[in-house]
Structure formats: C-alpha cells, structure tokens
C-alpha cells in the first residue's frame, strides 16, 4: 500500500524520483489489500512500547545536587574527624571507635589494616583501641587508592570526587597508580593535583 497516487500513463523520471511504473505500484498495492497486509503481532507492539516508555537505563538519572553535596560533606567531615583523633595515643589510653569507613586493603598489603567498625579482633579497631596499633593509615597512599578504586569500581563519580578532595590533604609525592589515572582520564574528571602525582 503506497502513500502516493501513481500518475496514470507516466513513466517519466523526475529529477528526484526513480521511474514510476504504475502497473507495478498498483500490483504492489493489491498485495497489501484485502486483509493480506502483513502486520506484526501484538506482542511485538507491546514490547516496543514498553521499552519506549521505560526510563533510559542509567541515563538521565542524575544525582540530586543536594544529595551529592551532602555526601561529599559527610565524607569530608568523617575524614577530618578521624584525622583530629590522635593516631598514636599514649599507651593504655582508651580511644573511642574509629569513624573510618572500611578500607578494603589488599590481603597481601604490608601495611596494617586501618580501623574498621565492629568489635572483631582483626588487628584494626581492637588494637587501635588498645593503643597497640599504629596510625589507621590515613597517610598511606595505598589506603586512599583503595578507597578511590572502590568508587571507581562502582562507577561512582561523586564518591570518587569527594574522596579525591580529602585525599589531597593527605597525599605525598607517590605517583598515582596507572589504573586510577586511566579511570580518571576515561571519565574525564578534571581533578586538581593530578599532574603532580
């Protein structure tokens, strides 16, 4: 079924259109008449419609600005608070539980695991509370890299940026690992301090 009327008897080709054969057009039109017009099944229609009406995956969903700002502020405050707490209190001095988040340091790391929540004797909280463990690794580049990797692995740009901001206050001259550099480049994050680390 065509959307145009063939001009009877004209076979001329215009500048824009191919030569028209009215008989073929008529025959093609007949092919789609009288209930012979092919139509897709309702299932196909429904599937297409459902997809068209579904919000795009991972697309326009944007972090609300206030939520992102709040998260960044909370993260900063938590790390600032943890920094204020003396990392090596005098022996025997009790400390409250560290507020640091789970560090996820590699099992093979030589550095001691930083404090984590909970009361398990894992070399972290317990020993820090007891004053027998060194600093919770705030100055350890690996600690920060792992934090950054956690965000990177979750494709969490906001979290990454918030952690990066705090990391700047603790970082030394140790160059940033290649995987993190790549992730930053891939995600086009304009990060201050990247070039000098």
């Amino acid at each position: 079924m065509t959307n145009f009327e063939p001009q009877s008897g004209t076979l001329g080709e215009t500048a824009e259109h191919p030569k028209t054969d009215p008989k073929l057009i008529r025959a093609y039109r007949t092919l789609n008449e009288d209930g012979d017009a092919p139509v897709p099944s309702p299932t196909v229609h429904d599937l297409i419609r459902e997809r068209a009406h579904r919000p795009p995956p991972g697309g326009r969903w944007i972090w609300p600005a206030s939520l992102a700002a709040s998260l960044a502020l909370c993260t900063t405050l938590v790390f600032q608070l943890a920094r204020v707490v003396q990392p090596n209190p005098p022996s025997g001095t009790a400390r409250t539980e560290s507020l640091l988040p789970a560090p996820a340091i590699d099992a093979g790391s030589e550095r001691p695991a930083p404090a984590v929540g909970g009361g398990v004797d894992d070399g972290g909280v317990t020993s820090v509370v007891a004053g027998t463990n060194p600093s919770p690794a705030l100055d350890s580049p690996e600690f920060w890299w792992e934090q950054l990797r956690l965000h990177a692995n979750n494709a969490d740009r906001e979290g990454f940026l918030a952690t990066w901001e705090v990391y700047q206050q603790h970082r030394d001259d140790t160059p940033l690992p290649d995987d993190l550099r790549r992730w930053i480049a891939d995600n086009q994050l304009p990060l201050p301090g990247l070039s000098d680390g």
């Binding site: 079924m1 065509t2 959307n3 145009f4 080709e13 824009e16 259109h17 191919p18 030569k19 028209t20 054969d21 008989k23 073929l24 057009i25 008529r26 025959a27 093609y28 007949t30 092919l31 789609n32 008449e33 009288d34 209930g35 012979d36 017009a37 092919p38 139509v39 897709p40 099944s41 309702p42 196909v44 229609h45 429904d46 599937l47 297409i48 419609r49 997809r51 068209a52 009406h53 795009p56 697309g59 326009r60």
Partner: protein, 206 residues
Amino acid sequence: MGITGTEGVVGASWPVDDASEESSHDPQSVTGSEDLMQAFATGDSKAFDTLYRRHGPGLFRFIYRHVGRQAQAEEIYQDTWLRVVDARRRYRPQAQFQTWLYRIAHHRIIDWYRKSKSLPLAEPEAVPDEPQPDEPTRRQVARMLNRALLELPLEQRSTVLLHLERNLTLQEIASICGCGRETVKSRMRYATARLRKALGDLYDEL
C-alpha cells in the same frame, strides 16, 4: 489509509494505523517526525507513540516483503525500533527521520541475510500459492509480484521496495542503501525489468 485487519490484531492500548503517515512529499510532516523524535529524546514517550503509529505499518510491510517470513520480519522490525529507542539521545535531525529509520531497518535486514546465509531464501511461508485459475487477475498479479520480489537480488529488492512502499526520492534511497543516485537508478531499472518479465502476460492485463 487504513490497513485492513490491523485493528483486529493490535490491542486497544496500542492502536496502529497509518492514517497520518507522512510521505516524502510533505515536508511539514517530515519535520513533524523529527520534532517528535527530539521530543521523545527529552522524555516525551507519547511522541514515540505518534512516531510509531505513523511509521510502523509501512516499515513492517517493507521488512516483511523483503524477507518474506513473519517471524524474521517481526524480529527485524522489533530490533529496528528498539535501536531507535536506544539511540534517542544520540539522535540529531541531520537527516529525515524516515530516512534514518529505514536505514536502520535496511542494515538489520542485511545483517539478517548475512547470518542466515545457510537458510533457504524462500520457505513455504515466503512463497505464495500458485495463482488459482478463478482468481481475479489483479490478485494473481499481486501474488506473482510477491514471489518475484523475493527472487530479486538483495539490493535491487531494497531499492524497488523503498520506491513501491514509500515513493522515496533517488537521494533518499541512495542514503538508505549507502550507494549513489546512479546506482539506485540502475538497480531500479534492472529490478523493474525483472518484475515485468516475471509477471509475463498478466502484466499487460493490469
């Protein structure tokens, strides 16, 4: 222009008719489709419904007449529309929506033929019954035309179907098929000659 049988097939929640289908002669409605696609890209899913109603029936006929099998036609048709949905944010109205849509469909059809090289071209479903002696001539011709279309080389079939179904311009067909205007002319010439030959004496009775 309604399609016989369409209303009975499609549910009330998703009515399809091509009453508002646009042709390449109507620049205003072509612009309308581009606007609708842009509206859809910004989250207006009703705009997609209108686009689908407008272009769906013709697109399915084009695909079905190309591959000759209902199941494969549905697969390609669905894939084409889902690509439109997925590409909504990348859509830029640099070409007519219709040209873009049929280009996607054309590529999907080519892909399908590549994947199904081992399959016989025409299954029983694709080859209509032989014309019956008491059948009106025009029905016989239509059936023979269907068979002849399926026997055309792939690119000639695309070209002639785009012409018969949508009355597209040479440039539009060239853009969809990824070839030049002269190639389109040449394919049209060969395809038309083959179709006339296939229809034989019945062609003169039309």
